[in-house]
Symmetry: C2
Subunit: 571 residues, 2 copies
């Protein structure tokens, strides 16, 4: 591609609201332009890079025997009503009416459509397993699109779906897919961490996420550097230590103006681990709202994802004061003791249920109770692990200290079990002649987000420095203009033709610009290898190479330039 024709434009200035390095560089280097909040046009450089990533992903999908299909972006509401997600998914699902008043949504995922297709297609165990995938535009009405392609509203996604006879067959395929994902990211030059994760709006039995570690990531990962345990904080576990002493008698104590755990511990001169904390949330995702009263030891925090899984909630909001008072609890001094249990679900973390003699609220302004004991003094509707792991907690596997990292999720895989197959009656006749429900998995990669993360991982002060495997072109060929002689231009043009014929993808900077501009633009655009043809070098029969990632430069004779390009590998 000749640069004087390329629809692109490098810029020194930053776009106004570009809040990540990748967004800044992809804009400045002319890979994309923003159309609106979370919506981007991909210019030729951007689209070419994206298509390279598609190829890497497609190869791995095909190797697994998955078949490429294409499902619509616009889905009738009825399908999503069948799965229940029309109601359960938040405003991220963009819903609208057509001219006849029928409801539709812009798909952010395709479980409904693909399961319906599978139900039409599969009839016998002989057809299993089978897997399909697509590259499709998705739309997610993000409340806060940011970071350019990292959190866009309209974005390209590879989504794959697999169907199996049994959970065992599925597990085998799932682990193959997990390895294929790890190969994809490795091939794309992105170091990722595979972590256990929550199933979120997908439902189903289990999931993994592929995380690019980055301080600006929106996810928190809990890691054990000793045994290698790693999980999204949403599901991360840790070892809880309980103090278990002889129960003492309940005793009311005045605690004037002590309405937080911190103040309470200080006032009574005890550790926060000797207290019980009350957290009130409302599950607003169901047909009717439900008040959830979570109780956890004072030194811990409630993990809302774990709590949601325990109570089967779709979406929480903070409870209002009047909702707390309505059940007879006193904000700031609340505990499950003496409340009306009719319109509330009480969930105790196991730390609370297994500790003795905790200080808890007396449901009376200015008073707490000493020596409360679960079982003797109060009970719960559920006892479960609803505590959030954090840096410094003890690893559940090896007793070492856990640490935290931030990450950006570039892919995820889910065990969907029979959640969707049951709804859409996707079944098959087993070898024994019984009707059975398909076991299903789904597998996503945000292709645009992956592209942005590669830039986050591979750049320097001067610009992008693509790994060879994903660069939109192999080579920047730069000719230095010369007022006296046309020779450099002629030599470079000939070299450009020769390289192209050999299948090298060349970005030929044939523009009428100064050397400084050309070098700066080549660094910004970030192709792995740069080759400069100038008058001074040619006088000695030489051309100059540069390795963009290392900055290393070397000369080579013009005659050997082609061979050098063909043989070159980044150090």
């Amino acid at each position: 591609m000749e640069m004087n024709r390329l629809m692109s434009k490098t810029q020194r200035e930053l776009p106004a609201d570009a809040d990540t390095v990748s967004q800044q560089l992809l804009h400045r280097a002319g890979y994309l332009r923003q159309l609106g909040a979370g919506m981007f046009s991909l210019l030729p450089l951007g689209l070419k890079t994206l298509k390279g990533l598609e190829r890497i992903i497609r190869n791995e999908m095909e190797a697994l025997g998955a078949q490429e299909i294409s499902m619509p972006i616009v889905h009738p509401a009825e399908l999503w009503q069948l799965s229940g997600r029309w109601e359960s998914v938040d405003q991220e699902l963009l819903r609208f009416k057509d001219r006849l008043g029928r409801y539709y949504c812009l798909a952010m995922t395709h479980e409904e459509v693909v399961t319906q297709l599978a139900a039409q297609f599969v009839s016998s165990y002989k057809q299993l397993p089978f897997a399909v995938y697509q590259f499709q535009t998705k739309f997610r009405d993000e409340p806060r699109p940011r970071g350019g392609l990292i959190r866009a509203r309209e974005f390209l996604m590879k989504d794959a779906y697999s169907f199996h006879e049994t959970a065992t067959d599925f597990a085998e395929f799932y682990s193959q897919m997990l390895k294929a994902y790890e190969r994809i990211f490795e091939h794309a030059g992105l170091e990722i961490m595979t972590v256990a994760s929550d199933t979120g709006l997908m439902g189903g039995a289990g999931a993994h996420e592929f995380m690019y570690l980055n301080p600006r990531g929106e996810d928190t990962l809990i890691l054990c550097n000793s045994c290698g345990y790693k999980a999204n904080r949403q599901v991360a576990q840790f070892k809880k230590v309980f103090e278990n002493t002889e129960p003492l008698p309940l005793e009311e104590v005045a605690t004037p103006e002590v309405a937080t755990i911190e103040a309470l511990a200080e006032y009574l001169n005890i550790s926060e681990a000797k207290t019980a904390k009350a957290v009130f949330l409302v599950d607003e995702g169901g047909v009717e709202e439900r008040l959830i009263f979570a109780v956890i030891r004072g030194d811990l925090e409630v993990n809302e994802t774990k709590l949601a899984t325990v109570v089967g909630a779709k979406r929480f909001r903070q409870a209002r004061v009047d909702e707390i008072i309505a059940i007879g609890a006193e904000p700031g001094y609340a505990s499950p003791m003496g409340i009306k249990r009719k319109n509330v679900l009480v969930v105790c973390d196991d730390t609370v249920a297994q500790s003795t003699n905790l200080v808890a609220g007396a449901n009376k302004v200015g008073f707490h109770l000493l020596n409360t004991n679960y079982g003797r003094d109060y009970s719960a509707d559920r006892v479960a692990d609803i505590a959030a792991a954090k840096s410094g907690d003890t690893c559940n596997v090896c007793d070492a200290r856990l640490s935290e990292e931030r990450g950006i999720e570039v892919g995820n895989i889910f065990d969907l079990g029979t959640t969707y197959s049951e709804v859409f009656d996707a079944s098959f006749l087993s070898k024994d002649g019984y009707k059975q429900t398909l076991h299903m998995g789904c597998y996503g990669i945000g292709v645009g987000r992956l592209l942005a993360c590669i830039v986050e991982a591979h750049h320097d002060e001067e610009g992008i420095a693509w790994p060879k495997s994903v660069a939109p072109f192999d080579l920047s060929l730069i000719v230095l203009k010369d007022k006296q002689s046309n020779e450099p231009f002629e030599v470079a043009t000939k070299l450009y033709q020769t390289l192209k014929q050999k299948g090298i993808e060349v970005l030929f900077d044939n523009r009428d610009e100064n050397p400084g501009v050309k070098f700066k633009d080549a660094d910004l655009i970030g192709l792995p290898l740069h080759l400069t043809v100038g008058k001074r070098g040619l006088e000695r029969g030489m051309v100059e190479f540069k390795n963009r990632q290392t900055g290393q430069k070397w000369e080579c004779t013009l005659e050997n330039a082609l061979e050098s390009v063909l043989a070159w590998e980044p150090g």
Copy 2:
């Protein structure tokens, strides 16, 4: 691809509402499945065929120097408000609100976005001409989606846009694009007719459509078999013959219960060409509605597209009786004589303005006027050609008789002039240093519709019969199962591997089905060449070929099978 794994399923039954051959066959042969009205999932066979068409189109676009980009599907309302199309385009443009209440639309075309990009990118004449294209999903909220992929609501479109210094430069590129389009359709095996057409919602100065002739087409073409003149009826011209005699005095005549042109001509025993007909339409596309009073000779019909162009209307509806009466005209007996001219735009076809002594309405129930003469008795706000050409009319070019055909539009190209460039300030500095506005063109192909039209053109009773250039696979390899021997299967499997290694795309029917089913399915799916391996043939060392399009069969030795496939060309 092994058929026992292919996500597809041939069916004998027709889908309930499939109203075209292509929709029936593409469904029955397992290329696609309908998700909702005008929305389709492409199964592996369908997507592979579509991608083949993409390749054919992409090659021609690249040969013209056009660069591939990708613009969003969801557009902010502001852009379309700037161009005026937010208001002027009908309900086909699907509009909706996001969670913050901001308005967006699902793009059916991308002039606004691409012109804004061009404005950012182009600054100098040195960058011109340049052209970009994309393959992008479009959504058009069709009132009556029908014919499967022929008139879908969600569909894949190739849209290209070009930008030029001058109208002359543009014209040169436009004619190259026109030829490229003709090559694309030829390569895809679809015979098309290139016709002049209306600019419709694109605006601009001129346009061509690429029509596949088909009795079920929604467009009517006017053709001259003598000189080759051809145009969409919307813009087609024809030679009008006027009778011009000495004007006679105006005379009122009683015409009781004669409220149609046909009845009037019969009652007065004159030809319809001696009458003037009144047609009342309301332009409802503007800020305020406007009544349009069109007058045309009684033997002709008003062409609403021509009329819309003359008066600059966006969209017409029939006028109501009360609207006609309000200007002092009498429905059934209306003419421009004596009406209130304030709230109506009168447009006369040139046949009316240039004929003499026509019979016209007296604006009084039961009465007409004899010998009305334009200029003497009444005037119009506009005189123009607003007449619809029809079969039997005289060719404007060569005086031969015109004929009509129905067609399906598979592509179109438009001269947009500076319509969008002016709105988005897409300009450049000319060689002389002046700021000039870009001259722009746009070029569309409905890729899914093209696919369906190829099926309409290439099928028989048994199924689809793809041209070699667009078939999803090169070859159907059919193995006939044999209870006694495993040899056919082993031979066929080996042949499958060999063919694949040579780059032949093979659909290998390795299913456990009877020969009859396999032959029927192969005919239905419609790959150009079929190769059958069976026990009887193998006993003589032979395999059997079949040309799907001609039905011709021939034998070949197993040893020569590969060579035969490589050398084969459809007759």
